[in-house]
C-alpha cells in the first residue's frame, strides 16, 4: 500500500475532474465546471486584476501601470511590425490571446502543491489550445475572404511562380496553410505538457530516490533536484516564449489575410 501511494503518475496532473454540475448537460453535451474551467476562471480574474493596474490612467505612470502599458505596447508594436497600420484593430484579440496564454502557463507553474492545492495548466490540453488555434485561424479566413474575396486564393501562389509550377505549388501552399491551426495548437499543448511531465518525473526521482535510502537520495535525488531547479527556470521561459510564439504566429497569419503577399 505504501509503495503504491509513493508511486507518482506524471500524467495524473492533466486529469480533468468535475467540480460542479458533473451531470450538467446542455443539448446532450456535458458542460460540467471542471478544475480546468476553474483555472481558466482564475487566469481570467488574475488577468483582469492585473489590467486594473493599467486603468489608473495617470499621466506619470507608477510601476504597475507602466507594466501593463509595456505589455499593450509590446503587442501593439508586434502587430505594427508584422501587419502594419491595419494591425492595430487586432490588438484587443492578440493581446487577450497572449496574456491569457501567458498567465495560464505561469499560473500552471505555481508551486501550489506545497499548500496542498493542485494547479492545473489548461494550455496543456489540446482541446483548449486547439480552440484558440481555430479561433485565430477563423479570423484569418474571415478577414481574408472578407477583404479579398476569391482573390484570397492568390495567397497560395507566391509572386513570380512560373505558370507550369502553379499546379504543384498551389496544393503545397494550400496544405501548409491548412496545417497552420494544427501546428499552432499542438505546439503550445506539447510544450506545456512536456515541461510539466518532465518536472513531475524529476520530482518522482527525488521522492523515490530518498525513499530508497540515503545513498540513492544523494546519487539520484540531489542531482535531479538541482536539474529540476534549472528546468523550472526554463519552464518559466518556455511559458513566456510559447505565449509569444502563439501571438506572433497568429499576427503573422493575420498579416497574410490583411496584405496577401
Amino acid at each position: 500500500m505504501a509503495a503504491e501511494t509513493a508511486k507518482v503518475d506524471p500524467m495524473h496532473q492533466f486529469t480533468i475532474e468535475p467540480l460542479l454540475g458533473a451531470n450538467m448537460d446542455v443539448a446532450g453535451f456535458n458542460i460540467a465546471f471542471t478544475n480546468s474551467a476553474l483555472w481558466m476562471l482564475i487566469t481570467a480574474v488574475v488577468l483582469w486584476v492585473f489590467m486594473l493596474g493599467g486603468m489608473k490612467r495617470e499621466l506619470v505612470p507608477g510601476r504597475w501601470q507602466m507594466t501593463v502599458e509595456t505589455f499593450t505596447g509590446f503587442i501593439d508594436d508586434m502587430l505594427e511590425a508584422n501587419v502594419g497600420k491595419e494591425g492595430r484593430k487586432y490588438v484587443p484579440y492578440i493581446f487577450s490571446l497572449f496574456m491569457f496564454i501567458l498567465f495560464a502557463n505561469l499560473l500552471g507553474l505555481l508551486p501550489l502543491g506545497i499548500v496542498g492545492l493542485h494547479p492545473f495548466t489548461f494550455t496543456s490540453h489540446f482541446t483548449v489550445t486547439g480552440v484558440l488555434a481555430i479561433l485565430s485561424f477563423s479570423i484569418v479566413l474571415i478577414v481574408g475572404f472578407w477583404k479579398h474575396g476569391f482573390h484570397f486564393f492568390s495567397l497560395f501562389v507566391p509572386h513570380g511562380t512560373p505558370l507550369p509550377m502553379i499546379p504543384i505549388i498551389f496544393p503545397i501552399e494550400l496544405i501548409s496553410f491548412l496545417v497552420r491551426p494544427f501546428s499552432l495548437g499542438l505546439r503550445l499543448f506539447v510544450a506545456m505538457m512536456a515541461g510539466h511531465v518532465l518536472l513531475e518525473v524529476l520530482s518522482s526521482f527525488v521522492i523515490d530516490g530518498w525513499n530508497a535510502g540515503a545513498g540513492f537520495g544523494l546519487l539520484v535525488g540531489v542531482p535531479s533536484f538541482l536539474l529540476m531547479i534549472g528546468i523550472c527556470a526554463l519552464e518559466l521561459l518556455v511559458a513566456a516564449i510559447q505565449a509569444y510564439v502563439f501571438a506572433l504566429l497568429s499576427s503573422l497569419y493575420i498579416n497574410d489575410a490583411e496584405n496577401l503577399h
Binding site: T15, I16, P18, T34, S36, L41, A44, G54, T72, V91
Partner: protein, 164 residues
C-alpha cells in the same frame, strides 16, 4: 494521457468554458481595458510631443526676438556711426575752410614778402650796375685815359654780369 483518455467526456465542457471565459477576457479585457490603456499611452505621447513643440516654439520666438534686437542694435549703431561721421565731416570741412583761409593769408603775405624782396633785389642790382659802370668808367679813365661813355660802360658791365 488524460488529454486523449478523457476526450469524449470532457471536450464539450472544455470548449464551452474556454469560449465563455476567453470571451470574457476578449470583451472585458481586450475590448474594454486595452484601448483605454493605449489611449493613456497615446495621450501621454501626445502631451510630450505637444510640450516639446511648445518648447521649440518658445525657443524659435526667443531666437526671433534676439534676431530683431540684433537688427535694431545694428541699426542704432549704424545711425550713431553715421552721426559721428557726419559730425566728423562737418568738422573737417570747417577745419579745411579755416586752414585754407589761413593758408591764403599766409600765401598772400609770402607773395608780398617775395615781391618786396624781388623789388629790393632789383633795386640793389640796378644800384650795383650803376656803381660798377661808374667804377668801370673811372678805372678806364684813370688807367688807360680812355673816356668811355656811360652807356658803353653800362653795357659792358651788363655783359660781364650776365657772364657772371
Amino acid at each position: 494521457m488524460p488529454q486523449i483518455a478523457q476526450l469524449a467526456e470532457t471536450y464539450a465542457s472544455q470548449i464551452f468554458w474556454l469560449l465563455v471565459i476567453f470571451g470574457f477576457v476578449y470583451f472585458v479585457v481586450g475590448r474594454g481595458m486595452v484601448p483605454k490603456v493605449m489611449d493613456t499611452v497615446g495621450l501621454r505621447d501626445k502631451q510630450i510631443a505637444d510640450d516639446l513643440s511648445a518648447a521649440q516654439a518658445a525657443r524659435d520666438a526667443a531666437d526671433e526676438a534676439e534676431e530683431a534686437w540684433r537688427k535694431r542694435e545694428n541699426a542704432n549703431r549704424e545711425a550713431a556711426q553715421a552721426l559721428v561721421s557726419k559730425a566728423k565731416g562737418k568738422a573737417q570741412v570747417s577745419t579745411e575752410g579755416k586752414l585754407a583761409e589761413v593758408q591764403a593769408r599766409i600765401d598772400a603775405q609770402l607773395a608780398d614778402a617775395e615781391a618786396r624782396i624781388e623789388e629790393s633785389r632789383a633795386a640793389a642790382a640796378a644800384e650795383i650796375e650803376s656803381v660798377a659802370a661808374e667804377a668801370a668808367q673811372d678805372i678806364t679813365a684813370r688807367l688807360a685815359n680812355v673816356t668811355v661813355t656811360e652807356t658803353e660802360a653800362r653795357s659792358a658791365v651788363q655783359k660781364a654780369m650776365a657772364h657772371g
